[in-house]
Amino acid sequence: MKIAVLGAGHVGPVIARLALAAGYEVAIAGSGDPSRIEMITDFLAPGAVATSAADAVADADLVVLAIPWHRFGSVEPATFAGKVVIDSMNHWPPAEAPLGTSEEVAARLVGAHVVKTLNHVAYQDMEPAAGRAVGYAGDAPAALGAVADFLARLGFDPVPVGPLTAGRLLEPGSPLFGVAATRQEFENFVKEQQS
């Protein structure tokens, strides 16, 4: 399976490194001068291929969105149809009430199978993954399976939290956001929200 990481900022290179270590082929794309992205990739995610966003997405089975939320509007939606897409973005500064970035992502990337995850883990806490529990939310069973497998291979312990709308449970303001919660804590919190 080929992975495309969109974003060469704080988060993108970390996820790219984890995916490389798990044995995936990884392409990474960012905004700005491609030669700078290449330099960043060489040092922070050696082994990944720096390329354009369009090429990275076209070749990939799974796309990780690791760009600032305000840049999402500049992502070209056409190439995403049929792809599994991880939305690891957050509103920043945090929105007054969680709005669910993933619902907006799914609405814009028509035909993509969007799964919300990793947004609630600070980039400095991702590596090593060390079996850390991470929540994931989405609607398409096949995509959920693919993402759970991907997260597990990276070294996380993926915990389903429900449909894509439940992705809000992972956003800023949630007691799960930014904390090292256990699988049990994730499951208890999700149950509380459902009751």
Binding site: A8, G9, G32, L44, P93, P94, Q124, V179
Partner: protein
């Protein structure tokens, strides 16, 4: 590269012995005393980070730095950071070249995009533009540092035509503060600015690839090697236990509140124990503990400068003064020995 040691503060409001917050005026006057003490104990740098909130009222850091300059003779004085994205580069240059004049060549500046976002709405900027603002304003600032008449045009301020920006000054050390964005590392290298790594959480060692990226990028852009610095929060007291106990309630309070607006988690006793331990980013402890961690981190990141960000809202002025004294007289000599 010469090894240098500094202190940074965000100017948090200090409390008296009973825990009552002091006025903004008294906090700022105390800060001047802290800067003077930093000079007396032989430190190389004292920096003030721009903030615009009631618990961090240091919105005009350069004025405070000028007051410290008037009472000191050796220590370098600068920002940590100046939020350039929401300021006018011409005005920033004027303020710091004036500080350089007042201090007889002791000004430094650390430019940042701003993780503290309060200045954006205050001055009418949209946070969504912060990368573009920083990119363009850094470029203008670099042009201003070259001296001479400047002609410049951009989107973020009025154009300049053959403008003589005064006061004239010798170039002063300019750093870019980087919190974890590799693009900022490359940007610093492209301008030939020093690199200040702000390490405020997690394992400091994970920044080692950033140092390598910076050195490579400097070479690629045709610059000679330049200093790499580390900025990390901490607190020094006589013993580990005392330092940890003094710091914890204020750390919990400040980070807990900041987390609500910046999206990071409230600390727990477990997360605190991790951060003050060997793999965390808090330099809290006895002089020996802090020195050992500093030396190890500086070696790992090939850094020649370490700025301890001291102070946390609610600590007393007396406790901060004691920490500064220990840092200058005990910690820094120990680190110098360990690095020698």
């Amino acid at each position: 590269m010469t090894t240098t040691f500094g202190l940074d503060t965000f100017g948090d409001v200090t409390h008296d012995a009973d825990g009552t917050p002091l006025s903004h005026g008294q906090t700022i006057r105390d800060l001047v005393e802290q800067g003077v003490l930093a000079d007396q104990v032989g430190l190389d740098f004292f920096g003030i980070g721009e903030h615009h909130t009631p618990d961090m009222p240091l919105s005009a850091a350069d004025v405070v730095l000028a007051a410290i300059a008037a009472r000191t003779s050796s220590i370098h004085l600068g920002s940590a950071v100046t939020v350039l994205s929401s300021d006018d580069p011409v005005r920033v240059y004027q303020r710091f070249s004036t500080l350089n004049a007042v201090s007889d060549g002791r000004a430094e500046i650390i430019l940042g995009r701003g993780s503290s976002v309060d200045s954006f709405p205050l001055f009418g900027y949209d946070l969504a533009d912060y990368e573009d603002l920083f990119e363009e304003k850094t470029h203008l600032f670099a042009e201003l540092l070259k001296g001479g008449k400047i002609t410049w045009e951009g989107k973020t301020r009025a154009a300049l035509h053959e403008q003589d920006v005064v006061p004239h000054t010798e170039p002063f050390p300019t750093w870019i503060g980087v919190g974890g964005s590799p693009q900022s590392v490359v940007r610093a290298a492209s301008y030939g600015f020093n690199l200040m790594l702000a390490i405020i959480g997690g394992h400091p060692g994970r920044f080692a690839p950033f140092s390598e990226l910076y050195k490579h990028a400097l070479e690629k852009f045709g610059h000679a090697p330049l200093p790499i610095g580390i900025h990390s929060p901490g607190h020094v007291a006589e013993t580990d236990e005392q330092a940890r106990e003094e710091f914890w309630p204020h750390y919990l309070d400040v980070i807990g509140r900041l987390g609500k607006t910046r999206g990071f988690a409230t600390p727990t006793p477990e997360s605190y124990a991790h951060e003050v331990g060997p793999h965390g980013a808090l330099f809290v402890g006895s002089p020996e503990t802090v020195a050992e961690k500093m030396a190890r981190t500086m070696k790992k990141l090939d850094a020649s400068r370490f700025d301890l960000k001291y102070g946390m809202g609610g600590l007393s002025h007396e406790s901060l003064m004691r920490g500064i004294e220990l840092y200058g007289t005990k910690v820094v000599p120990l680190v110098r020995d360990m690095l020698a």
